[in-house]
Amino acid sequence: MNKSYDALVVGAGIGGIRAALDLAETGRKVVLTDTRPHIGGLLAQLDYQFPNDHCGMCKMLPLTERDSSSQFCMRKGLFHKNIDILLHTDLLELSGEPGTFKAVLSRQSSFVDPEKCIGCGLCAEACPVSVPHEFNAGLTQRTAVHLPVPHAIPNHYVVDLDSCERCWQCHDACPTRAIDFRFSERKDFRILVASPRPDAAERLAGWFKHQNFPFLHAKTGQEALDTLAKDETIRLLVIDVRIDDPDAERLLERAQEIRPTLPVVASCPPEREHEARALVDLGARDYVVGPLNPATLVPWLDKLYMRLVSEERIEVDVAAVVLAAGFDCYDPGDPLHGAGQTLGYGRLPGVVTSLEFERMCSSTGPSGGRLARHDGQELKRIAWLQCVGSRDLQKKADYCSSVCCMISLKEANLARKRTFGRKGGPAECTVFYMDMRVFGKEYQSYRDTAESNGVRFVPARLHTVLPDPDDPAALRVQYVDDAGRITTETFDMLVLAVGARPPKAMQRLARAAGIETNEWGFCATDYFEPARTSRVGVFAGGAFGQPRDIAESVIQSGAAACNASRLVNLFAPIKDRGPEPEPRYRDVSREQPRILAALCSSCPTLDRALDVDDLARRLEGVESVVRVMRVDNACTGEGWKAVAEAAAELEPNRILIGACMPYAYVPRLRELGAAIGLNPALMDVVDVHSLVMGAMSTKHPTDAAVRERAEEDVFTRVHMSLMRLMGADPSPLPEPQEVTRAALVVGGGLAGMTAAMAIADHGYPVTLVEEAEHLGGTAMKLRRTLSGQDPVRFMEDLVGQVTRHPNITVHTDARVALSMGRAGRFFSVVSLDEGSAPVEHGVTVLATGGHESRIYDYGFRVHKSVLTQLELEQRLASGEIDASALSGVAMMQCWRSRDEHRNYCSRVCCAGMLKNLLLLKERAPDLPVYVFYRDIMSYGFSEQYYTKAREAGAIFVRYSPENRPQVEFEDGRPVITAYDPVLAAPIRVHADLLALSTGIEPNENWELAEIFGVHLDANGFFQEADYKWRPVDFLKQGVFVCGLARAPGSMGETVASAKAAAQRAVRVLSEKRLVCGSVVAEVRDSLCSRCGRCIDVCPYGARSLDLDRDRIVVDELLCQGCGSCAAACPNGASVLRGFTDVQVMSVIDAALGNLPTPRTAPAPAAATPESDPEPATAAPDAADTGPTEDPA
């Protein structure tokens, strides 16, 4: 029987992780796969991410029930009790119907047993291979057996079979026998060769005598089929394309019928290679071209064998699928589509891609983060060239990759930071661009900051890149400036801002998943529902459907998860889900601490480095330790069984495991806890191996001093853990809180209605409050989308669905007057015409929307000829404006946007302009249309409409904020005077109409912000918890934000954010009771003076003064366990569980060897090296030395 999951998420980058977590947190079982050997996708390589130039990925981790997932840096890894992660795994096939899909996965083997690999690296030392390391974008070399990423925990080596030279030295070097190339099974790997050549099998057997594969021979197709039919032990079929009776194609088809999972490969003479390729298209795995010779065939076939026997085919039943395979970076070195040739990429070492530059800035990169020229000289002048492989019809990319502008800004910032304080001053940074696309929420100010920090922006495209004749390591670049002058400048480095491309295996994945791709090879998605693919039940998360930045990817994944969750819900409603069996833990709060310690000795490292028996003896002497046992395999089930048995015998109330890679064991602790009835918060795992690994590989392990040192180190570390565990608070966590399983959605526009529908579809009652008389909001005013859909019908349908939905109560003409409570349990009052209505709800979604700004300027509202783009859209739709009767139309972008008035890009205006422009041009092709703009923000696939608009003959005139177009009126008709930078001359445009892109403003939100205890940003939008990682959350849990109230966005983006918010809301509602994390703050009221310092420092607002009871209270769901309050409290009235003063101070004592242990006890003089100081340094001043506090 197949393992079954609620959802399959393909791609374990940031998008996939978000989708998987969103589903897992609502109790859905998820299988998360990635073709790479690590999680994190592209972001594993990016240490710094705009717009704050730091990481913060960990902020994605669950906030409620924190204990069910990992609580450490996500670069190390991730686990969640409801997620199974399969790396090195591809989706082969997806069959069946939504709700009952069957997915076939194939997991490649890394040939290194993760249960045995201790990451010592001896294999890599032995490996003779040297190939470019993908992690560092090829800037460093790696061996065939290597660590894919430096920071994963546990970090296991993997063998890259493609580059392996089959010398087997790694196998011999491995101290734990973790590497397995399956030597012994070759003799059972029966290979059937279907070839007309009479000696085919004998010849092969001769070549493979070392491998000893059994070869069988079939001279005709029929013979091969007969053999297959009767001999089930055949493991591989080799088809020579020259076979007849039946021919190769037919043979392959029939063979697949007889043995569907049998791997088949083809062989062919060079002239018939196309036939072999055709066989691969039909399902053969690979082919080999003759004339065959043992030097190439043997490694090829042997590697094939190793793959076949070690790769795993996994079939799973899933209800829904989320595809989040992200994007790849454009390769300018690609021989077919590369732009590198003209730009010197691959030829001049100073020309690098943005990804390569990113790695150069990274501490784990080739130079450890030190920026230098390739000849070692200081990097003084760096240039970035935008749109390499994007917005380039020649490179088949009529789209904008959306992220490169911001990446270049970030890299310029980084470059300046990395070179700051150096003698010659920070590096000079120059960005060559066409349009700086800073269309995200805070991106304009990000650009402004870069500009004020000295980053230079040049609107030009570099053309020629040559080595500088005076300084061959530098680059001489040429471009034409606005005035048309050829300009030559010298740079030390040129960074190509490479665009996004569909993932390499996109075609295969699309075929396997049965989805359509768009003309650029990305997943085709629905305009209004960008998370929807062409196949029902298969959703697109992250940047799979379009290149996106982190925030947008996270939102997109939330939307995909929400769609998947809705589907899963049809098959297994969360509401009806039985409560998970809660483990019952023994109450040990009245017992003295009794610690069972177990040291893993499965790996020889520890024993080699120190005297483990002595160590165990010493540890047994530590206070509260009842036994120190040695476990053979702490990493396997058996090892844990031994611990469980000992626990049953000794009834300890604390357990400490000394093993390697503690993070890997956290899920095990939960299991052990359930098995022996002890709360896992009273258990811990301490790493005892990494400390001695250094000693083992670099120093002679038999040196007594080294061994003693190692023992001391390990002892101290374990001792510290014992002390922390000893002080662990055994009292139960705060009582979980009952959840009111209903939602309040404020705002009845597109976002509010979408969120309400999504929550209601999960079976929870929703109260939808709209201030206006009717549902609909701003989206109701739209008449057309850029790609031609009908928003009116879409909105009318949605309003209809919402009004009819049995779980949704709609209040129009209504406002929220009051709200109190906390996540899971709110009480609000809605004031209506006919009085007020109380609402009890567990979550709140704020979707109060925004509107087109109106600023009375440029003759707006004075002259009839001036109107906003939205008005133009409506009048074009109604026929009020007849395009053919016009003699000229002018359009003005960024009107009072992206400047001191409203320093953000409203995102939608350029698309709105293009939409009206194209409609005008469609109706009157010869109508002159002039667009005055700063940067056209046609990000993503809307770029194609910009191209179309240009092609349709519209004239775009760039202006700078310092030199804005001037508008006068002649007979009520606008006359615009502007400076055309290309003509280097002013121009005057006479038009009948002037359409202004006025931008989006949020609706008045401050009152709601106050009512719900959330914040607004400087522009009046709601301030999300974290721009990148928690875009629809507030710091206050249980309240979510979406739509224009969060940030400007298109209808599709609004829908996505609404669904993402709904999914977050469902996460709270899916629990009957909400449980806090085990690291949570508490108040010892008897000590508390109510000074309120803890309230001031709490970043989550989790603390408040309860006036009725006159005490400080902690909202344990809001509390994330940062401990700020504990540090701020002078007398320990505020306590963080797991990190109490007693615990930390005794850990410090243990760290310093200040606690009694059997060995230190009898001979204090020889205790530690520190206590044996040099006389000369020990007594410089009598007052400083002696027992100064001697009462005598």
């Binding site: 003209t342 490179k395 053309h463 003699s887 000229g888 002159p928 240009r950 290309v982 002013p986």
Partner: protein, 210 residues
Amino acid sequence: MAPATEHADAATAKAPEAPRAPAAAPAPAPDPRAQALEAALDEVRHMVAGCMQCGTCSASCPNQFAMDLTPRRMWRLLLHGYADEVMDSKTFYLCSSCYGCTLRCPRGLPLTRAMAALKRASILRGGPGQRRHGAFYATFVDNVRRLGRVNETDLMAHYFVALRDPLAPFSFMPLGLRMLAKGKAGLHGSPQRGRLGPLFAKVREMEEKP
């Protein structure tokens, strides 16, 4: 297409004087030649409409140094409706059809073709500019047609005649002498003479067919 722009202040403008084309005043008498010219220019406008003014064409042009308008500005003028400025310029005549701009244009515009189309339009239009800038071009082609390859001496002789400028030969004298000295230009006849005649005839035949 009625151009609706004008230079606001011709005195400060570096671009040539703009014709004040009345917004809605079509030419009174449709001259077939003018119509053909307008159609030819429209074709070019259509070719370059997708231009984003990135300047790659200008930067990649090896002859840009000699042009009076950079290619980018020329496309821009054309799109703005300043056909005369474009027609009066020698930029497109200086295009040596290296295809550098076409290869590198991120919008994939057929710029070399557009240059050639401008040359054709210019011939259609005639006028003193065309004679001046077109002289070399016409002489060159004629030279190739007659001799089967370029004979520098013969070319220059015909060019000077076409220029109708008695002083022109003197300005080229130093270069001519140096070339003669290095054997780069000679008076000997071409063995290829007339070999391209059938090719030219075929092209003309093809062009004349509708």
